[in-house]
């Protein structure tokens, strides 16, 4: 971590930029995320940098009091989780593009180089800026043709959680992964210990293919936080008692009721910045609508806590939404006969789908190439049976301030874990509603 941070330090910034440019189209999105893009302390920076799980923050150079960033739009090879990679479009080698981070009042210059084979623009979603800097192709500016570099320059007149994305062939370019977070910190530091940002998205990565399909409107295959799906989404790590903020942006085509277990969080902000305390709402699920951002804050309590979209199909990887319903279908006798024609055939789902992950994990039933099973992941007690927009908030008592590494599975104190008390199916006398 330390060496990485040094490398990404102020002096090394131009080197990073040239590396990114050189790897261009085939760049891998395996850039180690880093919250701190300079070796300045938080105090010197004047803010507590945001951490983009699985992502990274775009370094900048200061020129005549202007923070200059450089984005490059390009095709990339992206991995949603081990076992599923795709040709996507992104910025600076990744999807989502690097998080842009600055402070209210900063003047920023953002260079945008177009390495795609069609024109593009960048729209600074939610920012207050001159009309000509708004990035709507054809409306506020001419499109950036392939090979061209445009400069956007404006003063940051607000703070809060914002996003950026193309406003040229938006359907295709966003469907393929072009998007990023734009975080503006207030001039006055906020009392936040850990600041995370997640960008939700959906992908029509049809099973067996390796390029997202931009034509799909509703029936998506993968649902992601920062373009990763469970079990590849990094955990949100915190030390007990820390104040944690998770900023969530939505550039997908569905609304996502984001749910955090184990705490009642406060919704404390949105595109408009951090709300006055009087406007905060206590929730356990917060819908982040399409094109919206929401900030939630909570005080970390120890444990492993699920953090996910509450649309149950959004916590699944590839699955059929049109399959004949196998629930309750007794296939004994027929199954064997089918196997005579189709060795390995297995009728699944008579008693629910739980058996599915076991079969898949056992390795007997390979799926289509480059496709993630619909439910996957294992915890200390068994299969987690999740996918898509699912990760964990892991809180421990002994996590060092700048440590974001995964602490492993939670070891709960004695007698604080659910346990079996009977294997008798007729145990007890559960009351049923009298008929």
């Amino acid at each position: 971590m330390t060496s990485r941070r040094n490398f990404l330090g102020f002096s090394g910034m131009s080197a990073v930029l040239s590396t990114v440019a050189a790897t261009s189209a085939q760049a891998k999105s395996t850039v180690t995320p880093d919250t701190n893009m300079s070796n300045k302390s938080n105090k010197e920076l004047g803010y507590n940098p945001v951490r983009t799980p699985n992502g990274w923050t775009l370094p900048y150079t200061e020129k005549d009091g202007v923070k200059e960033f450089h984005l490059i739009a390009e095709e990339i090879e992206h991995e949603f989780a081990p076992g599923s990679t795709a040709k996507c479009w992104g910025y600076n080698g990744t999807t989502p593009g690097p998080t842009i981070e600055a402070v209210e009042g900063d003047r920023v210059r953002i260079l945008v180089t177009n390495s795609l084979k069609e024109h593009t623009t960048v729209h600074w979603h939610g920012l207050i800026l001159p009309s000509g800097m708004d990035g709507v192709g054809g409306l506020s500016q001419p499109q950036i043709a392939p090979g061209e570099t445009f400069a956007y320059e404006f003063e940051l007149k607000q703070n809060g959680t914002h996003m950026y994305h193309p406003h040229a062939d938006e359907m295709t370019q966003m469907a393929l992964g072009m998007m990023g977070m734009f975080i503006i910190h207030p001039k006055e530091p906020e009392p936040i210990d850990r600041d995370y940002c997640l960008l939700t998205h959906n992908w029509a990565m049809h099973p067996g293919t390796s390029r997202p399909d931009p034509s799909v409107m509703v029936d998506f295959d993968l649902w992601s936080f920062n373009s990763k799906v469970f079990p590849a989404i990094e955990s949100i790590v915190a030390r007990t008692g820390e104040r944690v903020r998770i900023r969530i942006g939505n550039l997908s085509m569905w609304n996502h009721p984001i749910h955090l277990h184990g705490t009642s969080f406060n919704v404390t902000g949105s595109d408009g910045g951090r709300w006055p305390k009087s406007a905060w709402r206590s929730e356990s699920t917060e819908i982040v609508g399409v094109g919206q951002t929401r900030d939630i804050e909570f005080v970390a309590t120890p444990g492993d806590w699920a953090f996910h979209c509450h649309m149950s199909h959004h916590t699944m990887n590839a699955m059929g939404h049109d399959i004949p319903n196998p629930t309750g279908v007794n296939m004994r006798g027929v199954e064997e006969k089918i196997r005579d024609h189709l060795p390995g055939f297995m009728a699944m789902g008579e008693n629910g789908m739980a058996e599915h992950q076991q079969h898949i994990d056992a390795g007997h039933h390979p799926g289509p190439a480059n496709t993630l099973p619909m439910m996957t992941g294992s915890g200390p007690y068994g299969p987690i049976e999740m996918g898509g927009m699912f990760t964990t908030v892991k809180v421990r008592d002994d996590i060092a301030p700048n440590d974001f590494s995964d602490p492993g599975w939670y070891n709960p104190p004695a007698n604080t874990i659910a346990k079996r008390i009977s294997r008798n199916p007729n145990y007890g006398n559960p009351p049923r509603k009298p008929s």
């Binding site: 699985n54 059929g320 006969k337 390979p366 619909m374 200390p380």
Partner: protein
């Protein structure tokens, strides 16, 4: 190869000229046809050296051939090969037997024509007014017969040859017919096999639908549709069964045995080997170039030879006739006369029809016309031959390309589709019905494959018939390694078997995490195909006109 045929022809000619009992001759025809026409199994089973084409061998080979055929028919349930079927047909085929019999008639007439007519004995009694009878005894023989004897003998021999060649041609046709019905019967049985699978899978679709219906998960409409599918498959199966019966009956007629008799043929249509499917140096397996085939046909085709012989015979007849007519009919005789008064007179007697007014021009005109007809027929035969060779070659190449298409592309792709469909079902991306339908479609493609293989062998037979040789001369029996229908009917052993799951080191979550089972890309390319090595051949094969 053709060296052997030439040698064989000698055998045949010798056999034909052997004037022996008709049944022996028939046997010789069989022996000769089977050995000359390259009956490989016959040659190898009975006398390896018979392929050297010695005349004695063919005569020796008669008995085992006949014995073998009867044993196969009566005792042996070993499936008949095409060659064995031909042997049986040549012995048993009743139409052929009738033609053999006709040969006897024809020969009798021809031989009669070649002899000097028997002397004519005459006896007459004349009543006189005086009440005294005049009795005349006479014996006369045709002097013309004696004068034209040499040329007429030649003519008779030529005519006999023409008839024999016709019979030979009929035997050849019977052979080709046997092959044709053999392949058609075999193909019908293979199609039946495929229809059985289609019906079985349709029944499974229905059974599965019924189970889904029992669980309350499908509509009455879906159940009805599954019933329609299963019933339609049953009907198709019944039709296929009827087709087998028809094909068996047709073949039994050619064989000259009853369809109800317990005889069997092979279970699998032979699959042409690679050498026969992919041309090398313009030649397909044992098929020579078209020009060679045409040249061979001119030498081999017995009907063509028969037509040529007929022309020769007519020419001789014309010549002989003109000689006869120049001479006129001379009757030479001795007469003994007893007059009414008892006086006896004996003396030579010559009657000569003076060819003064009629020299038999009308007969000559007739023969001339017949000659012209025969010549036109020969030209027509030659044209038909040329066309038949061209068509059979084209048909053979076309069906070969179809087989290549099936073997290298459609069937592997179909198997691949089934395997990929199963993978999707494993991942619950699709349901059981799509898997079953995919398998059903695979079976349905096999019907086309059977058709293509059948077409190939029928074209092969047509080509042999056109060239005038046994179809088996074009069959390359070398180990071919291409997959038969049976192989395709077997479920793909690769499908659904456990594959090594490639466990990725999960770097995001922690150790106890089981990464998703992610088969490597290589694992997915397991379609049972052998097209890699033949891709180029396919292209060159289909590029040929």
């Amino acid at each position: 190869m053709f060296y052997r045929i030439d040698k064989g022809l000698d055998v045949k000619k010798k056999s034909i000229r052997t004037n022996s009992l008709p049944w022996v001759r028939a046997m010789l025809v069989i022996a000769a046809t089977s050995s000359i026409l390259g009956c490989a199994s016959f040659a190898t089973n009975n006398a390896k050296n018979s392929s050297k084409g010695s005349t004695t061998n063919s005569a020796i080979a008669i008995t085992p051939a006949a014995a073998l055929a009867h044993r196969v028919l009566i005792e042996d349930e070993t499936p008949l090969s095409a060659d064995k079927a031909v042997q049986i047909a040549l012995i048993n085929n009743q139409n052929l037997a009738a033609v053999y019999a006709e040969l006897g008639f024809a020969k009798a007439e021809v031989f009669a024509g070649a002899r000097i007519r028997n002397p004519l004995l005459s006896f007459s009694q004349l009543d006189s007014n005086a009440g005294i009878d005049q009795i005349v005894w006479g014996i006369s023989t045709s002097l013309t017969d004696l004068i034209t004897l040499r040329s007429r003998k030649k003519l008779a021999a030529t005519q006999a040859l023409a008839i024999e060649q016709k019979v030979q041609a009929y035997a050849m046709a019977t052979q080709a017919q046997t092959y044709q019905h053999y392949y058609q019967y075999l193909a019908s049985k293979q199609r039946l096999q495929v229809f059985e699978e289609i019906s079985a899978i349709s029944d499974l679709i229905l059974e599965t639908t019924q189970r889904y219906s029992d669980a309350g998960n499908v509509t009455a409409l879906e159940l009805a549709e599954a019933k329609i599918q299963a019933s339609e498959a049953k009907l198709a199966l019944l039709n296929a069964g009827a087709a087998v019966l028809v094909a068996r009956t047709k073949m039994s007629e050619v064989l000259g045995v009853r369809a109800s008799q317990n005889w069997q043929i092979a279970k699998q249509l032979p699959i042409p080997n690679k050498a026969s499917l992919y041309p090398t140096d313009g030649e397909l397996g044992k098929i020579p170039a078209r020009d060679t085939l045409l040249r061979q046909a001119l030498e081999q085709r017995l009907d063509l030879q028969a037509a040529q012989t007929k022309i020769a015979a007519l020419k001789l007849q014309l010549k002989s006739h003109s000689l006869e007519n120049k001479v006129g009919d001379i009757e030479l005789g001795a007469e003994r006369e007893r007059e009414a008064d008892g006086e006896r007179l004996t003396g030579p007697n010559v009657e000569w029809e003076v060819p003064l007014f009629s020299q038999g021009q009308e007969d000559q005109l007739k023969i001339n016309a017949e000659l012209e007809i025969a010549q036109a027929q020969l030209r027509q035969l030659a044209l038909e031959l040329d066309n038949a060779v061209a068509m059979a070659l084209a048909g053979r190449e076309n069906s070969a390309n179809k087989i290549i298409q099936y073997q290298n592309h459609l069937l592997p792709a179909q198997a691949n589709a089934v395997a990929r469909t199963q993978e999707e079902q494993f991942f619950m991306l699709i349901g059981v019905f799509e898997v079953l339908q995919s398998k059903k479609q695979q079976y349905q493609s096999l019907l086309g494959y059977v058709d293509a293989v059948e077409e190939y062998w029928l074209a092969n037979t047509a080509l042999a018939k056109a060239v005038g040789v046994s179809p088996n001369i074009f069959i390359d029996e070398s180990n071919n390694g291409s997959r038969g229908l049976e192989d395709y009917l077997q479920p793909d052993p690769g499908t659904g078997s456990p594959k090594k799951s490639h466990k990725h080191q999960h770097h995001d979550m922690h150790k106890p995490q089981t990464g998703p089972a992610t088969p490597t890309h290589a694992n997915h390319n397991q379609a049972p195909d052998n097209h890699a090595s033949h891709k180029n051949h396919t292209q060159s094969a289909s590029a040929k006109p």
